[in-house]
Structure formats: C-alpha cells, structure tokens
C-alpha cells in the first residue's frame, strides 16, 4: 500500500550535516524500493478557493506557517506500521515536529 507522508515546517535551520544524513536516508529508501517520490515544497505557494462559479486565487505566504506542508514522501510499504517506522527515521534526522501519514488509494 501507498502512504503519503507530509511534514510540517519547523523553525530549525537545515545544516550540512542534516543534508548529508537526508541524502543518505533517501538513497537507502530508494534502494530498498520503498520510496517512490519525495520533494520539498515552497513555503508560500498559492491558494485557490472555489465558491459557486467564483474562483479566487490568493498568493502566499500564509499566516500559520507551522501548518503548511514543507515536504512530502510517497512510500510503498506493506503495512501502516512500516510507514510509521519510515517516518520515525525521517523525524530522527530532521528533528522535532509534526508529520501526517495518510494512505493513498488508487
């Protein structure tokens, strides 16, 4: 099954060590066939709201930056527990914060 993991932004500034550890982690997860896609997201982005016929597009950044998604990973695992384990490893590298894990249905 597939899970999408989304991690919220935190205040810490990434350093060289974190980049190196992340790169190694991503390599390893790709090699084991678990990680299908991953990426970081721009902090601002645009917001689109649809009400009736009306479409409103608002440019970011938005106030509650802690609730905005900073990065995602799409993983293919056997169970939810495996997804949680992957996420646990990820959080050990990037530090405190919140991630959301949701199963992706085809």
């Amino acid at each position: 099954m597939r899970f999408l993991m989304m991690s919220m932004a935190n205040d810490s500034q990434p350093d060289e060590k974190l980049f190196a550890e992340m790169a190694a982690f991503i390599d390893e997860m790709t090699a084991s066939g678990v990680l299908l896609a991953t990426g970081g997201l721009e902090p601002s982005g645009v917001r689109m709201t649809s009400v009736g016929d009306e479409i409103t597009v608002t440019d970011g950044p938005f106030a509650e930056s802690k609730e905005s998604v900073a990065g995602f990973a799409l993983v293919e695992v056997r169970t939810k527990e495996e997804a949680i384990e992957m996420c646990r490893r990820f959080r050990k590298i990037v530090g405190d914060g919140v991630s959301v894990i949701q199963q992706v249905f085809a």
Binding site: T30, A31, S32, G33, V34, R78, T79, E81, E82, E85
Partner: protein, 636 residues
C-alpha cells in the same frame, strides 16, 4: 497482533535482509545466520512490549543478533579461526554487497525454483513462513519444509557466500532475475482460484528488483526486469473490471494506469540502455511494455515497433509463448492473416497444449479474418482451458459475441458423449476411451461440428498430445479414435496415424556362463531355491512369490499359482524339501524376520509355523540385485 508486535514485524521486514546478510558473513552459513537473526526477533518480541520500542530498532536487532553470533562462535569448536575472522570483520553491519551475496545464495541453481522463491522471500523479504504459504496458496508446513530443505542443500553443497565472477556471473544473475520475476508473476496472475491478483507478491518482487538494481547497477538485464515489472504493475488497477474479469490491454482505461510507475519503468529502461550491450530478454520485454505504455490510446500503439521487438525477443528467447505473442503483434502490424500464419506455426507445440491463450489468440485472429465458426469454437476451447473463473466467463462471452450460422448436426463434444454413453462398454473401456476423447474435444474444441472433424486434425491432436508417448499408449488412443470414427461414420479418422511397434525393451537373460557362476555362489538356501525356481519355471516373480506350501505338488514338480502352472526341474526339486522343512502350509518363501506389530500382513501372507510373513517382491529383488547387479526377470 498488538501494536508493538506490528512494529516489530515492520522493523523486521525492513531490516532482516541486512541483518541476515551480516550474520552470514560472520558465521558463513545461511541457515544458522537466519536462526540467529530469528533469535533476535524473538528477543524483541519479548522485551519491547515491556521496555518500549528502542530509539533505533534496527541497530538493536543487529546488536542482539551479533551477540548471539559471537556466543555461537565462542561455543563452536572453530573458535580460533573465527576469532581471526572476527578480527577481520569487526562489524557485522552488512556491507552493501552482502545483501547481494545473500540474494545469489538464496537463488542458487542447486535449489529448485519453488525453493529459491520461498527462501528469497524469507531471507531478503523478511516474510514469515505463514505469509509465504498464503501467497503461494500452499500449506505452512510445505513452506517450512521447503525452506529447511533449501538451507540443508546449501550447507551440503557448500555454496559460498560470495559474488560470482566472470562467465558464472551471467548464469547466476539470470537465476536471481528468474526468481524475482517468478514471484512477480505468481502475484500478477493467480493460476487458480477466483482472485486474479495477489498484489502482495508483486510488491515484494518489485522491492526485490529495485533493491537489486541498486546493488548491481551495471547489469542491463536487472534494470530491464525492473522496468518490465514497474510497467506491468502500473496497469494493475486497469487490468480487471468491476466484477474481477480480465480487461485486455487494448481495452483498458489508460487513465487508470499508474503514471508514477510508468515513469519509473521508463527511467529503469533508460538506465538499462545506458549500461549498453546487446539487449537481453528482460530489456526487450521491457521495451515492448514501454511501447504500450507510450501509446495514449490503443489505436496509437506502434505495432510495427512492437512486432520488431518481438522478432528480436523470439531470437534470444524462442519460447512458444513468445512466438505466440509475436503472432499477436504481427496480427496487428500486418493484418490478421499474417498473424494467423505465425500462430499456426506454434499451434501444434506440445508446450502450449493446455495454454488457454493459444486458442484465445487464434480465435481472435480467426474472427478478424471472418472465419466465425472456427473463431467461436476456439473461444470455447480457450474457456475450457482457462484456469480461473473470471477468464472463463470472459472467453465464453467472446464466443457468444461471434455471429455464427447455427450448424445442424451434432458437435464433436456431443458425439463423444453419445459414444461413451453406449451401454455395451464396460467401465475400464469407458475410462480409456474417455481419456482419448476428452483430449480430442479439448484440442479441436467440443463445439466443432462433428461433420467437420477430419483425419488431418486428428493427426495434429496426436502429434501434440501423444507425440512422445510410449507405443502402447499411442496405439491405445489410436484404436479409440478408429472405433469412434467408425461409430460416427466419419471414415478412418486414424488414416494419418501409423500403428507403432510395441517393442518392449527386454532385459537380456543371463548367459549360461553367468548362470553357472550364480549357482556356484554361496548364498542362503531361500535365495538359491527362489532363483532356481524362477529360472526353471520361467514364471513371473510375483507368481512364484505367491506360492503357498499347500499349492506345491512335489512329485509332479509343479504348483498352481495365479491361475497358471508353475513347474520346475531337478535343481529346484533338490532344494525345496530342505527349504520347506516341516512346514505344511503358509507362504513358501518367507521374510527373514517376524513382522512388527504395526505392519501386520494379511493372514494369508503369514506362516502359521514361524509367524513370519511372505517374502516381498522388493526384498527379493534387492537381494538379487545386491548379489548380481541384475534383476530377477533376467533369470527367465
């Protein structure tokens, strides 16, 4: 399972390959390494519920397993040598290529294909025996036994934990690829049961393939296999309809194809091309899959390119199935008639005898060239051969869709039924006739009008079904067909079939010199008597062994056995009285010992005087073979 158990299980599946590989490097025995790793798993299951899951569960498992391994090595006699090894390998942390070594071991050609698949899922995938058993639809003890036997074989054959090199590499690698693809296909198309997909296995195979691609990046075929699996898997949602029926590639909703997997497939194929070299079977199959994936609609499919790729594939992998697929591609690229010609080239291949796709493909091509009646009959044949319900229903629907003028008169199937239903046939004959006619129906199609059945078709059925059969089998089927033809007033359906000479390969009798030698040997009285009697009577071994004392007419030197007379001459007559002694009834030839309580023979096979049983054929044969190297029949 509790949450902790599920976590342990998840960690285990992610880590087990590296743990087992690292331990194998230490102890040089896959079976032992896996047991040690299992010990660590058990420890985790015992401790984690109380202590909580450790910060780095993988490292925890590795550390425990390593400690067990060191304990084991200390305990074992080869302590010193291992110290040396340990000094050289201070960390059991697997090197990246240790997992690759483990794959080469678990897919080693000394193991049978099912054993390779089971062991690979166990060692690399970290699956439990129960999970493997469920995936392959066999019982758990079957898998347990299969894995235990595989480990034993690896130990006995001394399969080394190393990377094959030079010319060996290609063979060993193709074995690994074969195992992964077998696992994938097992999941992709369940061969029995009502479920068309067992997706868990596909996922395992994909993971194994992706892992292998990272471990052996310079092998084009590895990337080819990964590309092939990614793209096949990309269609998994689209290849079954709402009721679980198969949806053919050209009718699939391409919007349901998984673009992410398709892109991964493209990338993998590009990596294969970068490695270079002449394309192997997996690269070619992947290239074909990519061609399909690139077409936005079925009509856009580049059939000319696909037909060319199949042509190349048929050169490196000339299997009947590949040639059949090539025929399909050519049927699209150059028209149904061209495809039909290629199908007919493989139609009589015995390997495709029970392959439902052959009549399925043929039916489709026949329909397109307008030979509707034949097409319909082929679809019925295909349905009869299909191995799951969904496909059967689908093929029957295709048969019904072909517009055919209903023909008068009985079909082959109906005629066969009537022929077998006559009341002048005994059961054995019906059974024997039935075998022949069922095969006939299955191969020509039971809906084929009887009037269209020709000797030519029958000849082809025979070549495909019984071309390699023994002469007696061939002749039995041939005479069935002849009487069926006569009964149905179709003339001699066996016109194209020669009766085969039934030459039974006779073991030559012993020469007089050898016999003299035999009589002069110092062997026990029972054997001496039995051999003499067999030689002098020329009776069958079982008849002679069935003799009872009361059957013997010592004066006339003969006995009644199995409805015939067994008679002997002076040599036996001399020996028999001593062999019989005071016995007046019971078997003439007795076993050496009394039977055990669990293996009590029938009363007729027990000697009332000694309590011993009748000498068995196997034992008698064994004793003769041990003495002479030949078989008792040679005494005749």
């Amino acid at each position: 399972m509790t949450d902790v158990h599920r976590t342990v299980d998840a960690v285990w599946k992610l880590e087990s390959a590296r743990i087992v590989a690292g331990l194998t490097r230490m102890v040089r025995d896959v079976g032992l390494a896996e047991e040690l790793a299992q010990d660590a798993l058990v420890a985790a299951l015992e401790q984690w519920p109380a202590t909580g899951v450790p910060d780095n569960p993988g490292a925890w498992l590795t550390a425990i397993a390593k400690r067990r391994a060191v304990d084991h090595l200390r305990w074992s006699e080869r302590l010193e040598r291992k110290h040396e090894l340990l000094a050289r390998e201070p960390e059991p942390e697997a090197r990246q290529d240790d997992v690759l070594r483990l794959m080469f071991v678990s897919c080693h050609p000394v193991l049978s294909a099912p054993a390779r698949a089971a062991l690979t899922l166990r060692l690399i995938g970290g699956l439990t025996t129960a999970e493997i058993a469920r995936a392959f639809l066999v019982t758990e003890p079957t898998i347990t036994g299969r894995i235990a036997a595989a480990k034993r074989t690896l130990a006995e054959e001394g399969v080394p934990f190393e990377l094959p090199e030079g010319p060996e590499l290609a063979d060993r690698l193709s074995s690994v690829l074969g195992v992964i693809y077998l696992i994938f296909n097992e999941g992709y198309s369940a061969t029995s049961g009502d479920d068309l997909l067992r997706p868990g296995l596909c996922l395992e195979a994909l993971r194994l393939g992706r892992l292998l691609a990272e471990l052996a990046p310079h092998e084009a075929e590895v990337h080819g296999l990964v590309a092939l699996m990614e793209i096949q898997e990309s269609r998994s949602a689209a290849r079954t309809g709402l009721t679980g029926e198969p949806v053919q590639l050209h009718e699939q909703n391409r919007g349901r194809w998984d673009q992410l997997l398709i892109r991964r497939g493209f990338t993998a194929l590009l990596r294969a091309r970068e490695v270079g070299g002449p394309p192997g079977p997996y690269v070619l199959q992947a290239a074909i899959a990519v061609c399909h994936a690139q077409a936005r609609t079925a009509e856009d499919t580049d059939w000319a390119q696909i037909a060319a790729l199949y042509g190349a594939l048929a050169r490196v992998l000339p299997t009947p199935v590949v040639r059949l697929n090539r025929a399909v591609a050519v049927g699209h690229a150059r028209g149904p008639q061209a495809g039909l010609e290629l199908v007919d080239e493989v139609a009589d291949d015995p390997a495709l005898r029970d392959y439902h796709l052959l009549p399925g493909v043929r039916g489709d091509l026949l329909r397109r060239v307008g030979r509707h009646a034949e097409a319909r009959s082929e679809f019925h044949r295909a349905a009869a051969l299909a191995r799951n319900e969904a496909e059967r229903a689908f093929l029957l629907r295709r048969a019904d869709e072909v517009a055919v003028d209903e023909t008068d008169g009985p079909t082959v199937g109906e005629a066969a039924e009537d022929f077998l239903g006559r009341d002048d046939l005994d059961t054995a004959t019906v059974r024997s006739y039935g075998q022949t006619l069922r095969r006939l129906c299955r191969t020509v199609g039971e809906r084929t009008p009887l009037a269209e059945l020709t000797a030519d078709q029958v000849t082809r059925v025979f070549a495909t079904a019984w071309g390699d059969a023994a002469a007696t089998t061939w002749n039995r089927h041939r005479s069935t067909i002849r009487s069926f033809g006569a009964w149905a007033s179709l003339g001699d359906l066996a016109a194209g079939l020669d009766r085969r000479a039934e030459t039974r390969p006779r073991t030559p009798s012993l020469t007089p010199e050898r016999l003299e030698e035999l009589w002069s040997l110092d062997v026990p009285l029972r054997e001496r008597t039995l051999w003499r009697l067999l030689h002098e009577s020329a009776a069958s071994v079982s008849a002679v062994l069935s003799l009872d004392v009361e059957d013997l007419d010592l004066d006339d030197r003969r006995a009644r056995a199995d409805g015939t007379w067994v008679s002997w001459r002076a040599g036996t007559a001399q020996l028999l009285p001593s062999l019989l002694g005071d016995r007046t009834s019971g078997p003439v030839f007795l076993a050496d010992r009394r039977p055990g309580p669990g293996r009590m023979p029938a009363p007729a096979d027990l000697c009332p005087h000694t309590g011993r049983g009748r000498l068995s054929y196997e034992r008698a044969e064994h004793l003769f073979k041990r003495t002479t190297g030949g078989t008792l029949r040679q005494l005749r």
